[in-house]
């Protein structure tokens, strides 16, 4: 690494490196401009609406996610759903669970609710924490930077999945939603802070920042009106790409039996319950698996597209 001296001419990449300023509306237009990203965004909007209006949606179908429906099961087949494809019918849109006959559509909708709630809360916390600490480390430097950077190294060197498991299994009685949000945030913020720190360091050395400092702006002012606006694009991209990671981890932990536990509906936990039925009733794992995969994929596609729009260098290579 070479450190540019104060008199060095601006590097040729500077213009491209500085994120383009884009309004929310033009970003949205950009996302919809690619059919893949438009499809992904459409899917996410549908799932989000289902999640928000879960009680209303399940009232329409007439099935809640908890009650058992023995009528939909075939006792002669050891409690497998009646009918083809895991009991898909006009009454149960996505079939029912074997053995207890709970409505899968209702559980998917409520599962989306938990999944989004946990992932979005963890994203909000990690973005705020990561941006704040990353900016402090990058802008203040010195000892503060050393302390924050070491803390990040420490957390990044942790085997986070195993540690989350240890933490949650040591505290089985704590509210699982809360616990998941806490562990996801605890191990998630360094990934955001690391990028923000690097960008802050390079922004702090730019002419416009130096000009602001030279003209007597306070440190707070420089941080909030010179550096933060230039980080906005990066933050949006990091946040969009963090969500699928958290959704996947929550589902994985629930699959392992240490996230949300039955009867609370969760996609990961549904797939785990389906393991013992997978040879006889494959729809039981295919439905939650497909919803989970499509949700993660859609967030990734939208995130990639946003990255391309905000920082054209990243994907246009």
């Amino acid at each position: 690494m070479t450190t540019p001296s104060a008199t060095a001419p601006p590097e040729p990449l500077d213009a491209a490196e500085r994120p383009r300023k884009l309004g929310l509306l033009s970003l949205l237009r950009g996302v919809v401009g690619s059919w893949g990203a438009a499809l992904a965004l459409g899917y996410l909007v549908v799932i989000a609406l289902l999640a928000i209006f879960a009680p209303l949606v399940t009232a329409i179908t007439g099935n809640d996610p908890y009650s058992f429906n023995n009528a939909a099961l075939d006792p002669n087949l050891g409690g497998l759903p009646k009918g083809a494809l895991g009991g898909i019918s006009a009454e149960h849109w996505l079939g029912v669970e074997p053995q207890n006959g709970r409505d899968i559509f209702a559980r998917i909708v409520y599962g989306a609710r938990s999944s989004f709630l946990i992932a979005l809360s963890a994203t909000a916390i990690t973005v705020v924490l990561g941006t704040t600490l990353g900016m402090i480390a990058g802008f203040v430097g010195g000892k503060v930077d050393t302390v924050i950077s070491r803390l990040m190294d420490l957390l990044l060197a942790f085997p986070s999945l195993i540690f989350m498991i240890a933490l949650i299994s040591a505290l089985p009685d704590v509210n699982r939603h809360l616990m998941l949000i806490i562990v996801l945030s605890l191990f998630g913020w360094p990934y955001i802070a690391r990028v923000i720190r690097g960008q802050t360091m390079s922004l702090a050395r730019r002419e416009f920042t130096e000009a602001a400092i030279a003209s007597g702006a306070s440190r707070t002012r420089v941080v909030f009106s010179e550096i933060l606006p230039n980080l906005a694009g990066t933050i949006i991209v990091l946040a969009t790409l963090a969500v699928p990671g958290y959704i996947g981890t929550e589902a994985g932990l629930s699959f392992l039996g240490i996230g949300l536990v039955a009867p609370a509906p969760s996609w990961g936990q549904m797939i785990w319950s389906a393991v013992s039925w997978f040879t006889q009733d494959p729809m039981y794992f295919i439905i939650p698996g497909a919803f989970l995969t499509l949700t993660v994929l859609s967030f990734m596609v939208v995130g990639d597209r946003l990255q391309l729009l905000i920082d054209p260098r990243s994907g246009g290579r």
Binding site: L154, A157, P159, I165, G248, G252, T293, L294
Partner: protein, 331 residues
């Protein structure tokens, strides 16, 4: 270089110590009482007190912690009087459930996990490199688009879902493979190979997808360098331009990724082993979670942390060997 290495080792030891301390603290201070759990339903307060003494749950935190940490390096004697047992280093204590030595339990499960991990490592590096390099060289081609779409899907698919899907399609429906065995033995190479094939593919899928994306990005960057243009300008055949000039600088940074991903593999193995019922360390941890067998969970956590921390150092050293510029900077 020595100084650099010592500093890295120091930080590694510090990280491990923090992991041990935190895990121990979580289980000691926060966890519900394992004595009540072991004792079961018809339990008397006397019996609980007795179990607490046997498990040494009634002693204060720090003496217990230092004994535990010391036991990892030097071994220790557990209990006192006629019931005392010597537990040789690295001592991780005894399972609350089965009373077995935790170190022995982990060691006996390691071959399965290592077979799983190494096999999928081979698969993922080969698939990831080939996929990424071809995509970069023929950028914009149908291969590039197909490979990168597949990679995106590979990252998005949760590995337990892929595991069930592959098992259902290949084993149940098409019957191309027999049902994977829980405890495959190498003495029957054919069934060993077929039992591990699906777990390898499942575990490799996600990693090779990330790897292919990174390989492609690095390769595209490298192919844009001036010296590649020079190599082409002086008339080198494309095969040599790519093979001799572009591959090494493009792949060197990926050594870090492979190393760290490999160290993190235990997390993925936990899920893969659970789905396929493989009796590895991951399955051990999952079962221990189910029964709140704290010494076992702690042992596996430590193993995972040690793997990550050691791999960090190995990767740094390897990187210094492969990339001369790092050697200079480290001095």
């Amino acid at each position: 270089m020595i100084w650099f290495l010592l500093r890295r080792l120091g930080f590694a030891l510090f990280t491990l110590l923090v992991v041990v301390l935190l895990t121990y603290w979580i289980f000691f201070a926060l966890s519900p009482d394992p004595a009540a759990q072991i004792c079961g339903q018809n339990c008397t307060p006397d019996r609980i007190a007795q179990i607490r003494t046997t498990l040494e749950l009634d002693r204060p935190f720090f003496p217990r912690f230092f004994e535990f940490a010391g036991g990892i390096f030097a071994g220790r004697t557990i209990g006192s009087g006629p019931t005392a047992v010597y537990c040789s280093a690295p001592c991780l204590g005894y399972s609350f459930q089965s009373g077995q030595n935790v170190t022995d339990m982990i060691v006996s499960r390691l071959p399965v996990t290592l077979s799983l991990a190494i096999g999928s490592l081979v698969l993922w590096v080969i698939a990831g490199t080939i996929g990424g390099v071809i995509s970069a060289v023929f950028r914009g081609s149908w291969w590039d688009k197909a490979a990168m779409t597949a990679a995106l899907a590979g990252i998005a698919l949760p590995n337990y879902f892929v595991a069930l899907l592959l098992q259902y399609v290949i084993v149940v429906k098409l019957q191309w493979l027999p049902f994977p065995l829980n405890d495959p033995s190498i003495s029957d190479p054919q069934s060993w190979f077929f039992s591990y094939l699906l777990p390898w593919i499942v575990l490799a899928l996600m990693y090779s997808a990330t790897f292919a994306r990174l390989t492609r990005a690095n390769m595209v960057d490298t192919l844009g360098e001036n010296y590649i243009r020079t190599a082409r300008a002086k008339g080198l055949p494309e095969r040599l331009v790519i093979g001799k000039h572009a591959l090494r600088p493009a792949l060197t940074p990926l050594v870090t990724i492979v190393g760290l991903d490999f160290a993190m593999l235990l997390g993925g193995a936990l899920i893969t082993e659970s789905v396929f019922g493989l009796q590895g360390v991951g399955k051990l941890a999952r079962d221990a979670i189910g029964t709140n067998d704290q010494p076992v969970i702690m042992g596996v956590t430590l193993l995972a942390a040690t793997a990550v921390v050691l791999m960090n150092i190995v990767v740094d050293l390897l990187y210094a060997v492969l990339d001369p510029r790092v050697r200079v900077a480290a001095r």
